[in-house]
């Protein structure tokens, strides 16, 4: 069992590296965790030593597979807790985020699973409520879906930038079907009977949740 500081660091690296696709610098980690740079160096060194992180010669950091697994688990706990606090209990968002940060280290995997399925079962956030945590990212985007999947749009990041999505009917609550997904991640979704081709970077900003086939019709 890692200490909560270590878990926070891994979670921070996961978010900064955007799910392990890029690399993070120690400065970014310090900024994200709010720790002093001197402390950061020491903690990072021990995480590297334990095999959770890899440090390139230029100082940038990347998660190892082992580190990624831990970080993803913590990030999920954070999301579920924050969701529970804001959507079910009605706690204010920033306070919820802070409390989720404290709680995420002590709660067991099983409790999180139950909490998550409890929320899915009835008190699930209404469509359009962004199930976001403090990092502003959610695991499921349109890019994570397979061809043929039918999903419900949960939120759209940077809604002002891609106004046309709204006008074409791709908005929170709408059920869409993935008609085509190319190996290079361009997707075609069917919405309101029309097929819309979407670039990968835009598809990545559309956050979706799975929806039961009955609703998909």
């Amino acid at each position: 069992m890692l200490s909560s500081t270590f878990e926070d660091y891994l979670e921070a690296v996961l978010m900064i590296t955007e799910n392990g696709e890029n690399s993070a610098t120690p400065q970014e980690v310090a900024a994200a965790t709010g720790a002093k740079e001197a402390d950061v160096g020491a903690t990072i060194a021990s995480l590297v030593e334990e095999g959770y992180l890899e440090q390139a010669p230029d100082g940038t950091l990347q998660l190892t597979e082992k580190g990624k697994a831990v970080a993803a688990k913590v990030a999920r706990k954070h999301r579920v807790l924050q969701c529970f606090l804001t959507e079910v209990l009605g706690v204010e968002e920033s306070a919820a985020s802070q409390e989720a940060c404290a709680l995420e280290h002590g709660i067991s995997d099983e409790t999180i699973d139950r909490l998550s399925s409890y929320m899915d079962g009835g008190a699930c956030p209404p469509p359009g409520r962004r199930a976001r945590c403090r990092w502003g990212r959610d695991a499921h985007t349109l890019l994570d879906c397979k061809e043929g999947d039918t999903v419900r749009v949960a939120a759209i990041q940077r809604p002002r930038r891609n106004r046309r999505l709204l006008d074409l009917g791709i908005l929170p609550g709408e059920v869409v079907q993935i008609r085509r997904k190319l190996p290079n991640f361009s997707v075609v979704v069917r919405v309101k009977g029309c097929d819309i081709g979407i670039s990968p970077e835009i598809a990545a900003s559309i956050i979706v949740e799975s929806c039961p086939p009955a609703v998909a019709g």
Partner: protein
């Protein structure tokens, strides 16, 4: 009376406009054909009616140029009646725009088009609910068959009552509308637009912004998202009342092969290469035929008459120009326009855009750029105009550079007429290869250096259609007639001037002066420089002028293969034609236009010189 046609892209608006006015507006099956307003007049029962075809849009409250234009048009109430055209097969999505237009409260006529296709899909349409809710006449039409089109004008003339629609908005939005109304006296429609940041009154916008921020923090959705959701929901309800869906007959879904990486991409490449091949092969056949006929029945008899030298020189120049224009340019240009019209009307272009999206990202644009790039094979002028469908200036600049480098049909005339005919078909394709490599390299460099941000593609895959041969021919003819009636006179006048200059020995003087340079740089005789200069007017004139100056259309007899090849490469890359420069100035401004011009001139001379050094 003034009527305006408004609707989503590819709902058949332009086709209806064509049938109402009989004007030669271009109809295409991809988003964004009508960028400028098309106006046409028609007479109905001795009343003059002006009809305006507004560009196809998805929303009145978007940030694209077309959406801005249509919004401003409606704001200024320049029209007496709006005729909203909607695609009956995609009614729910089309109703979204219709509802926005209805909120303007102008007299309105609703045209539900493509009812024939809807029937094939097993959709039953009841116009009653729409008529009642909107207070507007609803006409069911099938524009491709010309069905019920004649009812539109009478219905529009009879429409005097403003349209009415009360979309139930979210409580927060309704409250915002009420308070804006109280403070500023604005109507519902203007308040809704102000909440989304559209309007002219800065005070109103300021207040609306504050309210919108408040709504966003409470509802955690932007005001625009909430409004769009409410409208879409209302559209869904209306569509549900209007359309009854029976079990649709099973149909083959072509997209299952067209948009897959395999075989979609091979098909895409096959279509492009096949298009070039057909144009080359059929074009050369026609070219041989027409040139031969001219030679035997016009040129030889003319020389046999034995007229005075000045008349004979001028006459020969004219005949050669006609021969080159009709015999060479005509077959290639016409075939190309037919091929491109078929591609456009079939709706395949949007599939091509989707497949090429990733590749286009590499050169700093998105899939939509495929449309201007493909159009450019026909003519760079409409291609540059369609560059507008890219959203950022960065993408437009990159696209403008690349579009001007794409060999248009006029340059195909040069490649096919000179290289394919006198050097070989393989060599002709190698010219394309050189140009494509240069286009890709230019794109790679520009995507690194061009400033600004990049937007991705959000593009509707329009329904695939079998192109109507009549429409394709009509469109190809409309484009060709521009060539016949603008380019040909220019060509004939140019050749008379050339003939005169030659007769009085001016040409010989000029050519003597430049010959040392062209010979040293490109290994080309002096008169080819004259031909290059004329190529700036019209690209194919470079070829025709060369033929006139060489004194024969059989260029192989006066120039070596290498010379012909270099001449073609330089002409193809060299400086865009005057018409292209003119639209470039309008679309991207003088700085970029000058940059493109300088770049292409130096590229042409550099590559030409390089080939000469390497192969001579």
């Amino acid at each position: 009376m003034k009527f305006a046609l408004i609707g989503n892209p590819t709902v058949g608006k332009s086709l209806i406009f064509n049938q109402l006015t009989g004007l030669g507006v271009e109809v295409s099956n991809y988003p964004g054909t009508t960028v400028e307003l098309q106006r046409g007049n028609t007479c109905f029962q001795r009343e003059m009616v002006e009809i305006v075809d507004l560009p196809g849009i998805y929303s009145l409250e978007g940030d694209s140029e077309e959406e801005f234009l249509v919004r401003r048009y409606l704001d200024q109430q320049e029209t007496d009646v709006v005729i909203v055209v909607a695609n009956a097969t995609r009614l729910e999505r089309n109703l979204y725009l219709l509802l926005q237009v209805a909120e303007y409260g102008l007299p309105m006529v609703v045209v539900l088009n493509m009812v024939d296709e809807a029937a094939k899909l097993g959709l039953e349409i009841d116009p009653g609910p729409l008529r009642d809710r909107l207070g507007a006449e609803v006409i069911l039409t099938a524009a491709s068959l010309g069905k019920n089109i004649d009812q539109i004008i009478p219905a529009a003339l009879a429409a005097t009552r403003p349209s009415q629609v009360e979309i139930p908005y979210d409580d927060h939005i309704e409250a915002a509308i009420r308070s804006l109304e109280k403070v500023f006296g604005t109507d519902r429609r203007a308040s809704i637009q102000a909440l989304q940041g559209f309007g002219d009154n800065p005070d109103l916008l300021d207040a609306a912004r504050t309210i919108a921020e408040e709504i966003e923090s409470r509802r955690r959705m932007t005001a625009a998202q909430i409004i769009a959701t409410n409208r879409h929901n209302y559209a869904r309800e209306l569509a549900g009342l209007t359309i009854r869906e029976e079990a649709p007959p099973p149909r083959t879904d072509l997209d299952s092969i067209l948009t897959r990486a395999i075989p979609g991409i091979p098909i895409l490449i096959g279509i492009l290469v096949g298009m070039l091949l057909i144009v080359f092969v059929v074009g050369s056949f026609l070219e041989d035929l027409i040139v031969e006929l001219f030679e035997i029945f016009v040129l030889q008899p003319f020389i046999a008459i034995g007229l005075p030298p000045l008349v004979e020189t001028l006459g020969t120049a004219l005949i050669l120009a006609l021969q080159a224009g009709l015999g060479i340019a005509f077959p290639f240009v016409f075939l190309f326009y037919i091929a491109i019209s078929i591609l456009e009307d079939s709706g395949y272009m949007t599939r091509a855009a989707f497949l090429a999206d990733n590749a286009m990202h590499l050169v700093g644009m998105h899939g939509g750029a495929v449309i201007p790039l493909t159009l450019a094979f026909g003519c760079n002028v409409p291609a540059i105009m369609s560059v507008r469908l890219l959203r950022s200036r960065r993408e437009r600049i990159i696209a403008s550079f690349l579009v001007t480098m794409v060999p248009c049909s006029a340059r195909t005339v040069i490649i096919a007429g000179i290289v394919a005919s006198f050097v070989g078909i393989g060599a002709a394709f190698s010219v394309y290869a050189i140009v494509f490599v240069l286009i890709i390299l230019t794109g790679l460099v520009l995507s690194r250096v061009a400033p600004g941000e990049q937007f991705g593609m959000i593009m509707e895959m329009v329904a695939l259609r079998r192109p109507d041969p009549k429409l394709v021919a009509k469109k190809a003819w409309a484009r060709l007639s521009e060539f016949l009636f603008i380019a040909m006179p220019l060509l004939l006048a140019g050749s008379v001037v050339l003939g005169l200059l030659e007769f009085f020995g001016v040409m010989a003087l000029f050519e003597g002066m430049v010959e040392p340079y062209t010979m040293a740089l490109l290994g080309l005789p002096g008169y080819s420089a004259t031909a290059l200069v004329f190529g700036v007017l019209r690209k194919e004139m470079a070829f025709e002028t060369l033929a006139i100056l060489a004194g024969t259309a059989d260029l192989g007899s006066v120039l070596t293969s290498l010379q012909l090849y270099i001449f073609s490469v330089v002409t193809v890359l060299f400086i865009p034609c005057l018409a292209t420069i003119t639209v470039l100035l309008r679309e991207v401004g003088s700085r970029i236009t000058i940059a493109i011009t300088i770049y292409t001139i130096s590229l042409g001379l550099f590559i030409g010189g390089l080939i000469y050094r390497l192969l001579a």
